[in-house]
Amino acid sequence: MITNLTIKEIQDRLKEKKFTATQLTDFLIAKIEKEDSAINSFVYKSFDLAKEQAKKIDEMIDAGKELPPLAGIPCGIKDNILVDGLNCSAGSNILKDYVASYDATVIKKLKEQGAIILGKLNLDEFAMGSSGEYSAFGPTKNPKDLERVPGGSSSGPAAAVAAGFCQFSLGSDTGGSIRQPASFCGLVGLKPTYGAVSRSGLISLASSLDQIGPITKNIDDAQIVYQAIMGKDALDSTSVDKSCLQDFDIKKIKIGIPKEYFVSGIDPEVEKTIKATIEKIKESGADVVEINLPYSKYALACYQILLPAEASANLARYDNIRYGNRELHSGDFSESLEEIYRYARQKGFGPEVRRRIMLGTYSLSAGYYDAYYLRAQKVRTLIQNEFRQAFKYVDFIVTPTCPTLPFKLGERKDDPVTMYLSDLFTTPANIAGVCALSLPCKREQGLPIGLQIIGNFFQEDKLFKIAKIFEQIK
C-alpha cells in the first residue's frame, strides 16, 4: 500500500519508476473523492494544481534530474495558510469567498521542493478549538473512530494524513493545535520553536505563540518536512536562523518527567500508557528523573488571557469591506458604517470566535489591562525561566500530549472551559516558546495516545533524534 510508505520510500519508488507522480496523485484524488465525504477533512480541493505539479515532477524524473527531498510527495495544507490562487477560509464564514493573492513562505518552500498540494484542510474557525467542531464547514471525523473528534484546531491536517489522503500536512500550533490532533489520530506532530519557521502567510491567531509545523506518519518524514520549511525569512521579523546539529548517545541523555503533569484530570488509561512508555525509555538506557515545573500549571490560565487578547486584535481586520463573504455584504447603505461592520462580524464569526474576541476585548479594555494581560505576560516570564532552568539539568521533558483520549463528537462542544482543558499539557511549550513533538505510543489496541517530548529552544534536530529512538522502542 502506497499509504504505508515513508517520504523516502515514495521517492525511491518514483526514481525506480515503480509508479509515477501522476499515478500517485490520481490514486489519492480517487481515494479522497470516495472516502472524504465520511471524514470531511478537505475544505477546498486543488486537484488541478496537484496534477500540474505531478506532471512537472514526472518530467524531471524522465529527464534524469536530481529530485529535491519533497518532490512528488502529496500533501495537504491547513486552511489558514495562504496558497496563491486558492481559497483560504480559516474555517470561517467571514472568509468564505477569500482567495489568497500570494503564497505563504512555507508554501513557496514546499513548491520549490516539488511537493504536490492536494488541497486545503479543515480546522476550527481561525484555529480556535480543540476538536475540529468549531468549523463553519462542519466537523471533521477521526478516521480511527468516526464517532470521535480528530482533535483541533488542525483537525483536517491530522485526519487527512491518518486517512491516507496525503503523506504529510502542514498545521499551525498556538496552544497545541498540531500536537493534540496528531495525538488523537495516532500521528507525529511538531510544534517548532517560536521563530524557527516563518509565519508569513499564516492567518494570525496569537502572534506571540503561533508556529507552523508538520503532521506526519513518522519521525523521519517530520524531520524532512521541518527542514524544508524552517529558516529565517525577511517577511517575518520574528524568524531566525538557529539550529543545533549535534550527535548524542542515549546513555548520556537525561529526561525530566514533571510531576505536575500527572495530577488530577488525567485519564487513567492515558496515565497508564504514558507511564509504561516511560518505563521502556528507562530500559533503553536514558536517565529518567522527576523534575518540578511549578509555574506550568498556570500556563493554561495564562494562555486563556494571551490568546483571546492577541486574537481580538488580529481579528479586528475582518470587517468584510476589502475581502470576505459577498453574501454578508448587505450593500444596504442606509446603515452606518459601524452597523455594517457589526452585522458582518456577527454573522461571519461563529460562537467560539465571538466568545474569544469578546474575552480579549474585555481583558485589553481600559482598567483591566494590568489585572489580566500584563499579569499574564509576567507569568509568561516565570514559565519561560522555569523551562530555561529545567533545560540546564535535563535534555528533554516528557509528558502526555493530552490528558484524555479522543472524545466523542458533541461531548464538549458547548462547554468552553472543559474544551480548553484539552490544551492543559500543550500550552506550556507555546508560552515558553520551546519546541515540542507528539509521538504515538505503541499500543496493541485502543484509541491513540500521544507522548509529548519537549526540547530546548531551537533543538529540533536533537528532538528528532530522541524521538526516533523512542519510535523504535517496541
Binding site: 506571540s208 520574528t238 509576567k378 520551546v434
Partner: protein, 98 residues
C-alpha cells in the same frame, strides 16, 4: 462576573452585533472563563518583568525599498462591492450643512 451591560459595551468595542440570547450566554461563558483565570492571582509577580514573546531579539530593520507585487488585480477582485476598480464603502463623513 460580567454583567449584560458590560457585555453590550465590550460588543460595541469589538464591533460585533449580538442578540439578547447571545448577550446572556456570553455573560455566563465569560464569567466561567474568568473564574478559571482567577488562579493567576495566586502567582507572585512583584519584581517580574513582562515578556512579549520568547526570543531575546533586537529590533529587526531593513531598507525601505518598494517592490512590485503584481497583485493589484487579485486584490481588487476580492472586494465584496466594487465599482470601476474602486472599493465601494459607506461614506464615513457626515454631511454637515450648518
Amino acid at each position: 462576573m460580567i454583567t449584560q451591560e458590560q457585555i453590550k459595551h465590550i460588543a460595541r468595542l469589538a464591533r460585533i452585533a449580538l442578540d439578547q440570547d447571545e448577550e446572556k450566554q456570553l455573560s455566563d461563558d465569560l464569567g466561567k472563563i474568568l473564574d478559571y483565570i482567577e488562579q493567576l492571582k495566586q502567582v507572585d509577580v512583584s519584581n517580574v518583568n513582562p515578556s512579549y514573546h520568547c526570543l531575546e531579539q533586537e529590533n529587526v530593520l531593513r531598507e525601505d525599498i518598494a517592490i512590485d507585487s503584481n497583485s493589484r488585480e487579485k486584490i481588487i477582485s476580492q472586494f465584496p462591492n466594487s465599482q470601476a476598480g474602486f472599493n465601494k464603502v459607506k461614506s464615513i463623513f457626515e454631511n454637515n450643512d450648518n
